[in-house]
Symmetry: C2
Subunit: 191 residues, 2 copies
DNA sequence: ACCGTGAGAGAACGACGATTCCCGAGATGA
DNA sequence: TCATCTCGGGAATCGTCGTTCTCTCACGGT
């Protein structure tokens, strides 16, 4: 089995388990079983659990943003792309294994004890905020609108996780639409 | 030392440590040292760590909401009280030991493995949402506004925690003002 | 003063988890 | 064929943590 394949299998197993059960609840042995990779190979590929956690978060970060952009960028106007972000959240919240934002969860679990995890979570959120800021700029709306939309999205994620409902995505979308209109009115742009 | 005092000292120590470092990062021994209560007394008062965690969350839940209401209810008009919620968040985010919402953090850490923790977090958020809903009702604004304001507040909490800045409270307040105005415009009430 | 109760300090216990080590099996090359 | 190398399986190691136990001692009632 090639190094590359081992890496993928381990990361797949780690992501599935870390995300659904939390990081400290998952032992290396569980990852070994789930990936069907021997402990020796596992440690050859990822020399420590910390390193594996970091790799899990980095890969998830990249994929999450890629999939969001793939969905939202397919829409025509900048305003539609902004609202599509919330549609994407709604789909995500409805996935059967949805358990909240992996970065918010990891931050809650390890942010206080691991600077690395805290930094990755922070960078992930900055990337997401930047993506929204780019959409907002394309819509010729003021920058502060991006901050507001970002907060709505973050609030929807935690609320969907804790309440176990996907509704927050719709509520956030409604609020986003209102804020978008208000921002356009402020700057005198068309609705 | 009275039972009551032991309970308070243990809970004070537990809250300080659990909140700042996370729950699984804090051992019973650390709580023993911080509270200066012997292990025996500690286990007499709280028969298990799980029970102590639960007591910590319940006490924090009650106090958090009490302090928020104390601050917000001191304002004159319903709309002012709504905006005051975000001022209160701003003050909270600026406290030197602020580390995000203890319930969101606990949920991220233990929600997947402890139904009790998940339930307490859910109940806490419901109480907070209900508090906002009452303010919204007093302001004669539609119920859905409460959901939107709640999402802003939640997003501000997680963002303040992860970014390490109190700014999200201001951004959320600005958005709240906009939403409030828009809601009043919708229902034809005065701004 | 004497006994019983309950307290504190901290060792002890049992489980678990991260990481390393060992052993036997199969593959490879001379 | 035999020496060597690698790998998987899983036992061994080492530390941590929740929880319990032991030992000693101070104190209140008689």
């Amino acid at each position: 089995m090639e190094r590359e394949e081992v890496e993928q299998r381990v990361l797949d197993a780690a992501e599935e388990l870390f995300y659904s059960q939390g990081i400290h609840a998952v032992g290396m042995d569980a990852i070994r079983s789930a990936s069907a990779v021997s402990l020796k190979r596992l440690y050859q590929t990822f020399p420590s659990k910390d390193g594996l956690v970091e790799a899990y978060l980095r890969r998830r970060d990249a994929r999450w943003l890629r999939e969001l952009a793939l969905y939202a960028d397919a829409h025509d106007s900048p305003a539609q792309r902004i609202l599509a972000v919330f549609d994407w959240l709604f789909r995500w919240f409805n996935e059967p294994d949805f358990r909240g934002c992996g970065f918010i969860n990891s931050f809650g679990e390890l942010g206080a004890t691991s600077q690395t995890v805290a930094d990755i979570a922070k960078a992930h959120k900055q990337s997401f905020r930047q993506y929204i800021a780019d959409l907002v700029a394309a819509a010729e709306a003021p920058t502060w609108l991006a901050d507001q939309l970002f907060l709505l999205a973050e609030g929807a994620m935690t609320t969907a996780a804790i309440s176990g409902s996907a509704e927050p995505a719709r509520q956030a979308k409604d609020a986003a639409r209102t804020l978008l209109r208000a921002a356009h009115a402020d700057t005198g742009s068309p609705a």
